[in-house]
Symmetry: C2
Subunit: 334 residues, 2 copies
DNA sequence: CTGTTAGCGCATTCAA
DNA sequence: TTGAATGCGCTAACAG
């Protein structure tokens, strides 16, 4: 139903090649005929059909964005960063949110195809070997964000060190009984940051000569509610922790709620540290590990564009810094 | 570089028509040859090129999603609802976030094109007459969410009534000095909910015989920080309000921060009501107007699918309910 | 400077 | 049940 290039050509009394030329500035066109073509385009309200364009060009002008945990503010912040760059580009964004393991599999298997997207950016997911085969074989330019892989470009952060720093801070304050609340360490989701943060937690304790008490580590899904539940458990232990490090700010909020429920004063009787520094952390006056969420999206897309423009770019793994932001949920134990 | 349908046909020693048939189950195929084709497909790791498929079918298998204020949790929640339905469909999602007025214009002008998307869902934006022309003329199935238009299908809510209810509640509690903090009423962005909520605010006051004090209404951008700034202004007025109704939960959090800054106790010395009931509102114990954010996305997409399946569906405008959720930021004035 | 043509990869019709 | 031919709308190479 919409006008095609042929309609324009006929109305402007030119060939379709000429129309294409004025559309893409692909070759010089006489000013007179250009005007006629432009007039015809305007009159017919013609817009090139993108499917035709894509097929002919062999490009989709689409960037695939795969993003899990989409409900969490940190992920949204990453996506915002990515969108800010993407919006100024010629590419459209094809969004894939992944909520379940089966979705994860399906998406990682079906999305990386030339002819479907020109480039792919994957957030917070560690591709399996199988996924990798798929991606490499399909030869679609790919960048990982908040994840790392020996064979893929990535924007990552040192979760182990960051978590260690946070726990070290608690130790410096004088805490010895430090709890850790995290996502499931063994989910089949393929995100390793929970594991890495746990590693950092363990390392800090070990180096301080504090034995690791498995009772002090709880894992569950990423929701605030679940975190609250886990914190309630920890805080009602016979010998409860005096500090809790949460794997995310959202979980830290759950911990704060639990403390409130039990009339435990933060930070006097309980110190809490989160991770991410999402916007609400400021409101909650939460001490937390700041990571550059927005920037990770920005840099991820920029790197992706680099890769797309230069297919044999040497492997690029960019580490983003983290920073412990001390606010008002941490204090020495009493 | 990737295998095409011809490669498969050759390898399976059949015509491309047969390959297409087994791909789409479009006509019966002999079991024997089907197996051969399937084997060839597997061996070549063939995946149909979507551009070719789209061009041939005249469909893009793409749903455009236009969403402003993308950084706010309420919008993310809507998008999540939409994605939950979209993810189970055969459609891909083309995401357009709009942050600026110029983006808004560009997107609303260039996105609604057959050949680019098969359906469009627009969140929280009131199309202008010009936009409407574009959309109607292009004949792209479209659904509005959190917005309404005489000629477009929509999922909307009664902002006026909801705001009025919130302010009425404050009046019932005994408040007479009620402030209102909102988004800019005259932004060129084309979102009317700020206006509507202001209307509800005014109506409630008027019906209660309370004069409207322009000093009590502040407008600024939607950020928490700006809201805090505006609240600071209100609370430092010679005769400050005893209650503040904020146009969104995020702004309400800013108000709470301002109160904290000034050591004003909430709810004893200041009542605060928000709008949206985003997840963090529960954490902040915020009294607020709950709207069905997630559901609005779900229903929006469902309606869109209905429209796409039945182009001359009579105009469908579905109103979603709101509900005042009383928590702990509201109390009678002292 | 411009018109014509081939072909991008696929679905589908028309014959067989 | 199947193969061959046509066309979707466009870009780019070719020829004028």
């Amino acid at each position: 139903m919409p006008a095609t290039i042929h309609d324009v050509a006929k109305k402007a009394k030119v060939g379709i090649g000429t129309v294409s030329s004025v559309l893409n500035n692909s070759r010089p066109v006489n000013e007179e005929t250009r005007k006629r073509v432009l007039a015809a385009i305007a009159e017919l309200d013609f817009v090139p059909n993108s499917s035709g364009r894509r097929l002919s060009l062999g490009k989709t002008h689409m960037i695939g964005v795969v993003i899990p945990y989409f409900s969490t503010p940190s992920q949204v912040e990453r996506l915002r960063g990515a969108m800010s760059v993407l919006a100024d580009s010629v590419y459209d964004v094809s969004l894939f949110t992944v909520e379940t393991t089966s979705q994860r599999q399906k998406i990682l298997k079906t999305v990386p195809h030339r002819g479907r997207i020109d480039g792919l950016i994957i957030f917070s997911l560690e591709p399996t070997e199988e996924d990798l085969q798929q991606i490499v074989q399909k030869d679609v330019p790919t960048v990982l964000v908040e994840s790392k892989h020996a064979h893929l470009h990535s924007i990552y952060l040192d979760d182990v060190a960051a978590a260690k720093e946070a726990v070290n801070y608690l130790i410096t304050l004088g805490h010895r009984k430090i709890g850790f609340i995290s996502d499931r360490l063994n989910d089949s989701f393929g995100s390793l940051f929970s594991c890495n943060r746990y590693k950092g937690y363990c390392q800090a304790l070990k180096e301080a000569g504090i034995p690791i008490n498995p009772e002090y580590h709880r894992q569950g899904d990423v929701s605030r509610d679940k975190a609250r539940e886990m914190a309630l458990y920890l805080l009602q232990l016979p010998d409860p922790p005096t500090a809790i490090f949460a794997y995310s700010d959202v979980q830290a909020l759950g911990v704060l709620e639990a403390a409130r429920d039990l009339h435990i004063d933060v930070p006097t009787d309980l110190s809490v540290i989160g991770y991410d520094d999402i916007e609400i952390a400021y409101f909650a006056r939460l001490t937390t590990v700041r990571q550059q969420l927005y920037d990770s999206g920005v840099k991820g897309v920029r790197l992706l564009f680099d890769v797309m423009n230069n297919p044999n770019l040497p492997l690029n793994c960019i580490q983003l810094p983290t920073e412990l932001v001390v606010r008002q949920t941490t204090a020495p134990p009493t």
